[in-house]
Symmetry: C2
Subunit: 329 residues, 2 copies
């Protein structure tokens, strides 16, 4: 099987690449070729599986056609510019997040006019498709009223994915990821960055800033769970999806207080003492508009699984990113 990952250089893309190469196959089929694309060429992984890496701007006409010209069987489309950038640069957001995805769908359809072709396409959407007014737990049949251009672009792509799948041009499945914690690597400037920072930095003996109240509730899954979602989406029977081709992934609804309590169980007060409370009204206001909880029933019924406690999320981070050891241990 030939697998194409678009957006392979990002955190999720790199972890997915490693997981696929380690497994050597997916759904019982060996991976015979892997193509890794991103706006800057991803690093070549150390593998015996034939692997192409290439720089590709999906928003440029023709790029998508070149990516699907050798008819990959399975395509992961993870590429997007993030919420803040899509809000700051209206044209760029629509060009990459909407037009890029539409070019990809259209290239797949055009490829299918030459001879039958209907690859599996796994698309990462976002809980940003949901806006106000929000119930306490967002059900699967909640209308999409995004509050950002990014959320709008993702919601539109979900509709396109469903229509192209209904018409038989592609076998598409979309997954709406929870906020991924603990993100490995350095702190970044995303408004959501502190959710990871207050675990990651203290476990490394470093200070981290908490800009919101501990009562803030949010929706989480680990990077490990995210890779599990993608792999399951790649092999799942899509027939039961009907016209609802995108699923809210399961996750953990937890407060910051619960997150800190989990940190203490792994890192003690030496770790929790490194959290510096520095209220930031701007971040607090942004975070207040975010969903806090979902009833992700459809995805659970279809076999998607996430962590059910913050201890599991912290443990996954320690095992996957810290060699199983914390600074304290």
């Amino acid at each position: 099987m030939h697998v194409l990952i678009i957006g392979a250089a990002g955190m999720v893309g790199r972890k997915l690449t490693s997981a696929l190469l380690e497994a050597g196959g997916i759904g019982g089929a060996p991976i015979e070729k892997l193509t890794l694309a991103d706006v800057v060429a991803p690093n070549s992984p150390d593998t015996t599986i034939p692997c192409d890496t290439l720089a590709a701007d999906l928003s440029a006409p023709g790029t998508a056609g070149r990516l699907v010209a050798d008819r990959p069987d399975l395509i992961f489309h993870l590429a997007a510019i993030v919420s803040g950038e899509a809000e700051a640069d209206f044209d760029k957001g629509y060009a990459i997040n909407l037009d890029g995805t539409r070019f990809l769908l259209e290239a797949i359809r055009q490829e299918g006019t030459k001879e039958p072709y209907c690859p599996r396409l796994v698309f990462t959407s976002s809980i940003a498709v949901f806006g106000e007014p929000l119930p306490a737990a967002i059900p699967d049949d909640m209308a999409h009223t995004p509050l950002t251009s990014y959320g709008t672009q993702k919601a539109i792509c979900e509709l396109l994915l469903a229509d192209y799948s209904r018409r038989g041009f592609v076998n598409g499945i979309g997954i709406r990821l929870p906020t991924i914690v603990v993100r490995p690597g350095k702190p970044n400037k995303a408004a959501s960055g502190f959710f990871s920072g207050i675990i990651r930095e203290p476990l490394n003996g470093m200070e981290a800033v908490l800009p919101v109240d501990e009562s803030v509730r949010h929706w989480f899954a680990s990077p490990r769970a995210a890779i599990g979602f993608l792999r399951h989406a790649a092999t799942l029977d899509t027939t039961p999806l009907g016209q609802r081709r995108t699923l809210t992934m399961p996750g953990l609804s937890a407060t910051i207080a619960e997150e800190i309590a989990a940190l203490e169980r792994f890192g003690g007060t030496a770790a929790t003492g490194l959290i510096r409370r520095e209220p930031d009204e701007t971040i607090a206001r942004i975070v207040a508009g975010w969903p806090q909880n979902f009833d992700a029933r459809r995805a659970l019924e279809l076999g998607f699984a996430a962590e059910t406690s913050f201890d599991d999320i912290v443990r996954a981070h320690i095992e996957d990113e810290m060699g199983g050891m914390t600074a304290r241990a």
Copy 2:
């Protein structure tokens, strides 16, 4: 005030034009100029108000820019290719129903970069944005799972309208029309045509075919109500809409049996005797997938009003299309 109607040559466009010219203004502001555009140039109305008519293909790059170059204050965007054609011709449907609307929004935004410009844009969406699984009465916060490319294109345009409005590029409002009965004119080949035909033809002493069972329930409003929706949407304070810029219009949920009973009250058994039952499984299957009832609470609270009985719908047809007289009278 300068008013632009895109899609002015269609049934709704012509009725809207007449209503606006008769009133001479809208929301207390006189109409100083009217521009009527459609893919074929609309007929020039008999009026003293300055009125341009022009042929314009909104899906052609540059057309939208020319339409908004003289900065209309109020734009009605009614143009679309219908459901059956959008399903039969995938490219044409996306070109006109999606790209055309996006070109219009983008042209308005670009016009606003020259000097501030934020016109009211009234967009006609469709209940085709709703698909399965459907509850008995579809609420305002129901997710969009369209079962056709047409419904997909309308749902995408709703999202774009909301995002462009949120960003302050346009003051947009979308309205999802019920099935309009009684459509004036000749029978057409739309799957929904019989809903109008079984009133219109018998009242004119002509036979009409009923291809489905009398127990079929559907969602209706008169052409008169539709024009009322458009005029109200043009002047309504959009502040309370928040990010939910498109509203399901109120309508009447009624069965074919109720429709025929109303016909009998106006045309007697002479009229109902002209209905020929000729079951058509294809049409029955299509109609079975259509929504039957809505809880259009938001629109009702915002002052939109429709008929509450089929008698009112038949009466509107007789008054507006038959000079108040039926064949029997």
